[in-house]
């Protein structure tokens, strides 16, 4: 504890500890590796203290206290594992499970359910309630476009209600009825349809809120996860990409207090199907499929023959790919013009996360000196255009004349409109298959890591460029992400992913 933060000393399970003044006990304990079980408390939501799972014993206080609502005080003596606390947890568990259905084989939350985990850790007792006595509630409620509710499984922690009210800023959910009959519901005439609604699926500690998109697709224990960044907009929210059988199955937010806190928007959550579908699997020229070496030779021939070639960079490319493109021009094609920019029309941003610019790396592209409006450059009359990860015809069909009469080579991951119209298309890997970094509008650089094997013949953009350069007789040197990043940082140290990370110590 340093840097002017006032700290207090307290005793946690017999050991003297320090914590910042005013911190909630549940967080102060976690700071020292003591995990207090919880349902209703979530670091992104205001404390409420309704589930009673987090109770602890504090000396000189006659009753047990909820650690999620009690700030740590100087000299406090806290026990989180005393017999009295453990007994209380068992009782809370039993209470929560009174009407809970035995649904684990069906429930999508199995494997990441806090009821399962705490039951194994604290309870392990048979139920004293007869199966027939359980109160039944609706099982498959259509709560909104993304979310399906199973009211029987809900533990009434109200996280979802508080998320809508406090984070998304809309009153869409509420708890109706009392006691054993209480259940989550949308307000009459309303649905859970705010643009951040998917987050309630992640924060629901049990399987009451499930994702219509992911429901029953894969069991979570089969998923493999990688840390990644959302390509949806300039914010670049931190995400987890999860794959099974080399297909993306689900995207979840990753905690990053500097960028997106705990959330992502619904667009970002669903922005993955293009990684699985409609992929360009091999290079294709006018005469059909080409092997990678043939494609490199064909691209080199076209580039060599061109009088005024134009290279178009995109703010969807990683800093590493952008640097490789610059190297490519320097070493292989010094006479070519180079321009950067997106053809994607902006959308409406909001005050929560979404930014108008729908490209994840505009800032990085500008920092690397590649901005400059591809449309003007296209109007300036090049006879050949090399387009990388940019879909002019798909994103702005009315700008079709910009490409007419020009030879077009594209490096694309998908068979999009521009790729389909191009004379030569070379497959490249998506961000989910490669390593790289993007710099968001605030100048925060984050890295993404591969979670899939590249499909078909696709290579990273840098590898594809190196291949074409080699066919042109130039050597780009090693083009792995690490080497390129080191080169980027020599020139633009502000693009370092490690910069500013120590500020709050918990982001990646």
């Amino acid at each position: 504890m340093s840097g002017g933060v006032e700290t207090v000393r307290f005793t946690l399970n017999g050991v003297e500890r320090e914590a910042p003044k005013g911190m909630l006990l549940i967080d102060a304990a976690r700071l020292h590796g003591v995990d207090i079980p919880r349902y209703c408390s979530h670091p992104g939501l205001k404390p409420e203290g309704n589930c009673r799972m987090c109770v602890v014993e504090i000396e000189k206080m006659p009753k047990l206290q909820t650690s999620c609502t009690t700030p740590v005080q100087e000299g406090m003596v806290v026990h989180t594992e005393s017999e009295r606390v453990l007994e209380e947890r068992r009782r809370v568990m039993e209470f929560l499970l009174v009407n809970h259905p035995i649904d684990c084989p069906i429930c999508d939350q199995a494997g990441e359910c806090m009821l399962q985990e705490y039951y194994m850790r604290h309870d392990l007792q048979p139920s004293r309630v007869e199966l027939e006595e359980k109160i039944h509630k609706p099982k498959r409620v259509d709560l909104g476009p993304l979310v399906v509710l199973d009211a029987e499984r809900c533990v009434l922690c109200s996280r979802c209600v508080r998320f809508c009210r406090d984070v998304a800023g809309v009153e869409e959910l509420a708890i109706k009825n009392r006691g054993g009959h209480a259940e989550i519901t949308a307000f009459p005439g309303r649905r859970l349809e705010n643009p951040y609604s998917g987050n309630v699926i992640d924060i629901c500690p049990v399987g009451a809120l499930t994702s219509r998109d992911f429901r029953f697709k894969v069991r979570v224990w089969f998923l493999k996860t990688a840390e990644s960044v959302c390509p949806g907009c300039e914010r670049g929210c931190s995400i987890h990409i999860e794959q099974y059988q080399n297909e993306v199955q689900r995207i979840r937010p990753r905690e990053n207090l500097r960028v997106n806190r705990y959330w992502i928007c619904d667009f970002g959550r669903l922005d993955y199907r293009w990684i699985n579908e409609n992929r360009l699997l091999s290079a294709e020229g006018p005469s059909g499929r080409l092997r990678p070496e043939e494609a490199d030779r064909e691209a080199a021939r076209l580039l060599r023959e061109a009088k005024a070639p134009l290279l178009v960079a995109s703010p969807r490319m990683s800093n590493e790919s952008l640097f490789a493109l610059r190297l490519f021009r320097e070493k292989a094609l010094p006479e070519a013009r180079i321009a950067g920019g997106s053809f994607r029309e902006p959308w409406e941003g909001d005050a929560i996360l979404k930014r108008p610019d729908r490209n994840p790396n505009r800032r990085g592209m500008e920092t690397l000196g590649l901005a400059g409006g591809p449309e003007e450059a296209l109007r300036a009359g090049p006879d050949l255009v090399l387009v990388i990860e940019n879909d002019l015809l798909g994103d702005r069909p009315e700008a079709k004349e910009l490409l007419t009469g020009k030879k077009v080579i594209v490096l694309a991951s998908n068979r999009d409109a521009t790729a389909s119209a191009a004379g030569l298309r070379v497959p490249v890997a998506t961000y989910a298959e490669t390593e790289g970094s993007w710099t968001n509008f605030e100048g925060i650089t984050q890295t993404f890591h591969p979670v899939l094997r590249p499909v078909g013949d696709s290579r990273s953009v840098a590898e594809a460029l190196a291949g074409i350069a080699a066919a042109l007789g130039a050597d780009l040197g090693p083009v792995d992400a690490g080497t390129l990043r080191a080169a980027v940082l020599r020139e633009a140290p502000q693009l370092d992913p490690a910069r500013g990370r120590e500020e709050d110590g918990r982001v990646g």
């Binding site: 084989p105 069906i106 498959r140 069991r219």
Partner: protein
């Protein structure tokens, strides 16, 4: 190796002698012969013999399997593949595809142990699983439910 062993013909003759001894013995003591007249005669299997799998149905005839994937998770041979789907008649989940690749199965019974719904059993006592095409040895959900 000693000298007579090096002459393999001698060893062959000795081996044929062993066979002859058994043959003569079996001719005179047919009741003690260890072989069965398969397929007319079949061995009586213990009750817990792990035969070919079957999928169970509930009383109303719907499959018991809720596609929980526990069997697929437990299977060491990776021979079960399941696809889950939404059930139309109620809030539940059901397997829309359930394949067992019996060519890979090692008949360990882990799938049966793992199932929380008693939906898969190996109590059919069937062990004659030969077939003439590989595809026929990937048992699908219809086969497993009805045979």
């Amino acid at each position: 190796m000693n000298a007579p062993e090096r002459w393999y013909l001698i060893e062959v003759l000795r081996g044929m002698g062993v066979s002859l001894r058994h043959l003569v013995r079996n001719i005179f003591h047919q009741d003690e012969m260890p072989t069965l007249q398969y397929p007319e005669e079949k061995r009586i299997l213990p009750e817990r013999f792990r035969g070919r799998h079957r999928l169970m149905k509930r009383e109303d005839g719907t499959p018991r399997c809720t596609a929980c994937f526990c069997c697929q998770t437990a299977c060491p041979a990776d021979c079960i593949s399941i696809e889950a789907g939404e059930r139309e008649d109620g809030g539940e989940k059901v397997a829309v595809r359930f394949d067992i690749n019996i060519l890979r199965c090692v008949f360990c019974g882990f799938c049966v142990e793992a199932c929380p719904c008693d939906a898969i059993r190996m109590d059919t006592g069937k062990y004659e699983l030969a077939d003439d095409r590989r595809e026929k040895l990937i048992y699908d959900i219809d086969f497993l439910l009805n045979r």
